[in-house]
């Protein structure tokens, strides 16, 4: 039994340490004549399990406030929808938004719909964008492409009205009839253009439009903004068209994206935006790490000064506690935000609490003249009740702040959630390490010397 227990503990320790390995630390040294040169990284799983692909790496996930990026909240105007259609409409909005953000070339965007009361919102988390403004306008666009021709009464209108103003008549051809838009380059000047490929209906419509307006201008509008108004040179029947204009490459790309992703079924409006530049995040990480290290050292120093050998044991338990929590953060995975790190550091301070409770109880029992072994046993028994009691209120508060069931009368903010989650995990882990690990360490290192 004993052997089984020890192997299990050793095995678990290896797994935990392996999971908590630092990222990208190069190791270079020589052993005799062999050169050792590799990079330490936490493990990653990349296998197939019963035909299902499993891919997970155990690197630390950083929140937008630490790695830099934007968090955007849009509110959907659902006033014109029937209540039974809302859910479906919002899902399609989410898909379109996701497609638009993906095409913007962002890695791992997170798009979610949130319902609060009778309001519907869409949150978009975009890591590492440098230009939020572009992203916002791209996401929020209603992006409806339309083709217009000169109004029938325009012959009577004075010819000095600007061309765009004269293009008032809808042709019936819209973005829905476009199968695909791509960026191509003009053969003479190499200037970027957007090529449209129509579907069958669109191809016919376009053919009709070009026939009707031969030698006349046809306006191409995106959301009522004119993009270009070329003069039709010939009837085009192949189902291909090119929008040329004075585009930069980026503008052409955005236009293609907007046309491809189609119109949003529900208009959305930006209500909240939080952007953190990448440089701020890395400064804050560095500062937090220093604060953590410094605080930890102070706590250890204090414990050793005050409790001597018991203090050394609890410092050791504290380090084990830190490693276990960190491994848990990676496994879940917990997205670490700045307030999340604060919650973790706070929980380190609190984790020592259970050790102090136990030590004081042990001291009390020893003062009563009991044998050290007995004192440890009794001290633990007495302390455990108080430890449980004391941590419950923290867990209650963490529960309300995290709002795990997403009740819509409670706030759900990344900032607070990060704090609540790491605090709760910290408290739960410290219940485990405070009781189990300290006990084992005491049993091994704090035995009474028998004559």
């Amino acid at each position: 039994m004993k052997i089984l227990q020890y192997t299990l503990v050793t095995l678990l320790s290896f797994v935990v340490i392996f999971l908590a390995l630092p990222e990208n630390v190069p190791v270079k040294f020589n052993v005799g004549t062999t050169k050792i040169n590799f990079v330490i990284n936490p493990p990653a799983i990349n296998t197939t399990f019963f035909g299902k692909e499993i891919r997970r790496d155990f690197k630390t996930k950083l929140g937008l406030d630490l790695q830099g990026g934007s968090s955007l909240t849009f509110e959907a105007d659902t006033s014109k929808l029937k209540s039974e259609d809302i859910a479906e409409a919002l899902n399609s909005v989410r898909d379109i938004v996701e497609r638009r953000v993906n095409m913007f070339g962002v890695s791992e965007p997170l798009v979610q719909t949130i319902k609060t009361g009778n309001k519907h919102r869409i949150t978009v988390d975009i890591p590492g964008t440098s230009n939020v403004s572009d992203a916002v306008s791209l996401i929020g666009q209603t992006a409806q492409l339309s083709f217009k021709e000169e109004g029938t009464d325009s012959a009577n209108v004075a010819t000095n009205t600007p061309l765009i103003m004269r293009l008032t008549q809808d042709t019936g051809l819209t973005g829905k009839d476009v199968k695909r838009a791509t960026v191509v380059f003009d053969q003479q000047g190499g200037r970027p253009q957007v090529q449209l490929r129509f579907n069958d209906v669109g191809a016919k419509l376009f053919e009709n439009v070009t026939r009707k307006n031969l030698g006349k201008p046809v306006g191409i509008f995106l959301d009522f903004y004119p993009i270009s108004a070329p003069i039709v040179q010939s009837v085009i029947s192949g189902g291909d068209a090119v929008i040329s204009g004075d585009f930069t490459l980026d503008q052409a790309k955005q236009l293609a994206i907007a046309i491809n992703s189609g119109a949003l079924p529900v208009p959305i409006r930006l209500v909240e935006q939080r952007t953190v530049g990448p440089s701020l995040g890395s400064i804050e990480i560095q500062k937090s790490i220093w604060a953590g290290v410094f605080g930890l050292l102070m706590v250890m120093f204090f414990m050793i000064m005050f409790y001597g050998r018991l203090g050394v044991i609890s410092s050791f338990a504290l380090i084990i506690y830190g490693i276990i929590s960190f491994a848990i953060f990676r496994v879940i995975p917990v997205v670490l935000t700045l307030s999340g790190i604060a919650g973790f550091l706070l929980s380190i301070g609190m984790a020592v609490d259970s050790n102090i409770l136990i030590f004081e109880r042990i001291k009390e029992e020893t003062r009563k003249g009991r044998d050290r072994d007995v004192a440890i046993r009794l001290g633990f028994g007495r302390a455990i009740d108080a430890i449980k009691d004391a941590n419950i209120t923290t867990l209650i508060v963490a529960f309300i702040l995290y709002n795990p069931l997403s009740w819509d009368f409670l706030p759900t903010f990344g900032l607070i959630r990060g704090f609540a989650l790491t605090l709760a995990i910290g408290v739960l882990t410290s219940l485990f390490t405070g009781i189990t690990i300290t006990r084992q360490l005491l049993r091994i290192f704090y035995r009474q010397k028998r004559n």
Binding site: S133, E284, I396
Partner: protein
């Protein structure tokens, strides 16, 4: 054994002074609400060189950015204003770069719509009420005694007042704003506050069980004398951590850490010096009847 209860008037006076200063500061307008609650825009830029605020305000007025208040700290420009559209922000940034011939780097942009701000205010209010109710229910459950529970609640309310009051001083002197992180810190403080009180009261209950209905004052003094070291040590470790975070940690959580620090200190103080004497007073009143 130390005679704690005897000097209760000193503790009460001390608490009254701290809370009094804080409340005066709150009443005279010492609490600023952040854009989390009021709606608005916060901009934080890193500049290649320091500039004068007049020019910044002039550009802001040109672009019709309203309600602006700007600060410069070394090379960091912080601006708070009424909600600003992202396009206007971009325009503002390019104008800064062009007109003042400097380089501007985005540190942070936050915009919260006014509707959302109001909603957040209501929701955090509800969350706080639920947290208080949860803690009260838990107290009623563990103590099953009116006197014990109400003494713990008095200490809890004491801590809430201290934290709000001191935060208003932070707000007045260093420009701290009441945001969602502050509310979080306040709720965490409440859980701390109860935590220490429970451990002391738990001792008293143990004496009552083992020694019968003796003199409450003696029991309380005893419980305090036995627990004061543990209670102080425990808070010290938390204080070390929070102190490190406040002094060395990132700027965006500095006030958060400082608030938690104040919360820990008052939470530790209130258990022996508020909750315990109040429990004594309540139980004396009941005995005389």
């Amino acid at each position: 054994m130390i005679q704690f209860i005897r000097y209760r008037i000193i503790y009460f006076t001390f608490s009254a002074i701290v809370i009094g200063i804080g409340l005066i500061s709150v009443i005279t307008g010492g609490l600023k609400f952040s854009i989390d609650f009021t709606g608005g825009t916060n901009l934080e830029y890193k500049l290649s060189q320091s500039i004068s605020l007049d020019k910044v305000s002039k550009i802001a007025t040109d672009l019709k950015i309203e309600g602006i208040s700007a600060k410069i700290n070394k090379d960091v420009l912080s601006i708070r204003a009424k909600p600003v559209d992202d396009k206007v922000e971009q325009l503002f940034r390019t104008r800064l770069e062009k007109d003042l011939s400097i380089k501007v780097q985005i540190l942070r942009i936050e915009t919260v719509g006014p509707v959302l701000g109001r909603e957040t205010m209501i929701k955090t209010g509800i969350a706080s009420l639920i947290a208080i109710a949860g803690i009260l229910l838990y107290l009623a459950f563990t103590f099953k005694s009116f006197a014990f529970a109400s003494a713990a609640i008095v200490a809890l309310v004491h801590d809430i007042f201290v934290v709000i009051g001191i935060y208003s001083l932070f707000s007045r002197f260093w420009g701290a704003e009441v945001d969602t992180l502050f509310v979080t810190a306040l709720l965490t403080t409440m859980s701390f506050s109860v935590h220490d009180t429970i451990i002391i009261f738990d001792k008293v209950r143990e004496y009552k069980r083992t020694r019968g209905q003796g003199d409450m004052g003696t029991y309380l003094d005893r419980a305090l004398s036995e627990n004061i070291v543990r209670s102080l040590n425990n808070s010290m470790t938390i204080v070390f951590m929070l102190m490190a975070l406040t002094l060395l940690g990132g700027s965006s959580i500095r006030f958060f850490a400082a608030t938690l620090l104040v919360g820990t200190l008052t939470g530790t103080y209130s258990s022996p010096f508020v909750a315990t004497p109040v429990l004594y007073i309540i139980s004396e009143k009941f005995r005389k009847r």
